[in-house]
């Protein structure tokens, strides 16, 4: 319960501030919701395809390809590809999150992930066109060149500071993520015998280990075999 609240703290805080505003400052709350409208539309236009694209990439593109083109050894080729990927994509910066997480899982380097995220945020082609319209070609070009230089430098620094393992956090939507109802678990150990790479026993209860490539069939098998249905996807 406490963990659940902690994980969703941000959502809860935003919801609470809205409730508070609606009670004490209704007009401000209404303005806020109206302001959100544009962003909602932007999100609905882009996020569904982002998720589908990410899932398809996950299924069809193998690790070797990603490592070859965006991995640590990809050098200049990787950097250019990362810039292009970020610049031609549409959508707000958070749209880049699922794709970048996946690319990293498949072997893209931290440096290239930072390049994709940053160029996705600031040097998108539709944005540049808008910038020329309002601020002039000169302004846009100078800012564009400076931004690319800046991204090159700080993605390099970021790649040195951040290690690959720093990114392996608990990803809620990880493929084949499995939930364990610890109260229901009777500690029979069948799951850890069925899929020892994923399950382990500790203090007579099952625990789920960190595993990057989960074999869905074996996981399904383990879920099916659990006598008390303590496991579910």
């Amino acid at each position: 319960m406490i963990k659940k609240i902690k994980n969703n703290l941000f959502i809860i805080l935003v919801a609470l501030s809205y409730i508070f505003l609606f009670i004490f400052k209704t007009p401000l709350a209404i303005t806020s919701i109206k302001n959100s409208g544009y962003y909602l539309k932007e999100m609905l236009m882009i996020m569904p395809i982002i998720f589908v694209l990410t899932a398809l990439l996950d299924t069809w593109i193998n690790k070797e390809t990603i490592i070859k083109y965006l991995g640590k050894e990809a050098k200049a080729k990787g950097v250019i590809l990362a810039f292009v990927l970020g610049s031609v994509s549409a959508g707000p910066i958070y749209a880049a999150f699922p794709i970048c997480v996946l690319l990293h899982k498949k072997g893209a380097s931290v440096k290239n992930i930072i390049i994709i995220l940053s160029s996705w945020a600031v040097i998108k082609v539709p944005m540049l066109i808008n910038e020329v319209k309002f601020l002039g070609l000169n302004f846009m070009l100078v800012r564009w060149v400076l931004t690319i230089i800046a991204i090159l430098i700080f993605s390099y620094i970021g790649g040195k500071i951040i290690k690959d393992k720093d990114l392996s956090v608990d990803k809620a939507y990880e493929e084949g993520r499995v939930n364990l109802n610890i109260r229901a678990c009777i500690g029979c150990g069948i799951c850890s015998k069925t899929y020892p790479e994923l399950f382990d026993m500790e203090n007579q209860k099952a625990v789920i280990k960190e595993l990057n490539d989960v074999d869905q069939e074996r996981l399904d098998d383990a879920i099916k075999k659990c006598p008390v249905n303590a496991l579910n996807k």
Partner: protein, 160 residues
């Protein structure tokens, strides 16, 4: 819908069709994963969106302009860079706004700082970034982006 969003839709649809031809079962499995991914992120994204709405209601973009105009260059630059980090303004509002600032010969450094942190550094998206990439990544990327946003702004001031 702009052409780029449209292009992404078309590319995605083509991918789905190719994937279906190659392997139906795998495709359906992917679509299921996509749905699961969406479910896991949807609440966080909604929170971000409504938080942006809230921030914009409390600090309207026009006020940001007034704020930048009245200050001395250093405070204006740091202040606008900071304001840029909390808000996320769509380009079609941000560019006209920054355009007016530059036309009104407000110092260009502040305007550029604002423009850059606006999109690259995100306090509102920070919780989601942390959830997806881990704390260290989120902090490092945002701090580095902020520092370089200011460096870009200063260089622009020197060049233009």
């Amino acid at each position: 819908m702009d052409i780029f969003t449209l292009a992404m839709w078309i590319i995605t649809i083509i991918f789905v069709i190719i994937s279906l031809i190659k392997d139906k079962q795998k495709t359906f499995k992917s679509l299921k994963i996509a749905l699961k991914m969406g479910k896991a992120m949807v609440l966080s994204i909604f929170s971000i969106i409504f938080l942006i709405g809230l921030v914009l209601a409390i600090i309207p973009p026009a006020n940001i302009a007034t704020f930048i105009e009245g200050q001395n260059p250093i405070i204006a630059t740091l202040g606008s860079a900071f304001l840029g980090t909390i808000t996320l303004i769509p380009a079609f509002i941000a560019f006209p706004l920054v355009g007016t600032l530059v036309d009104a010969s407000v110092n260009i450094v502040a305007a550029v700082a604002f423009l850059t942190t606006l999109t690259m550094v995100g306090i509102v998206t920070f919780p989601l970034e942390k959830k997806e990439f881990g704390l260290k990544f989120a902090i490092t990327r945002n701090v580095l982006s902020f520092i370089f946003a200011i460096l870009i702004a200063i260089s622009m001031g020197v060049i233009l």
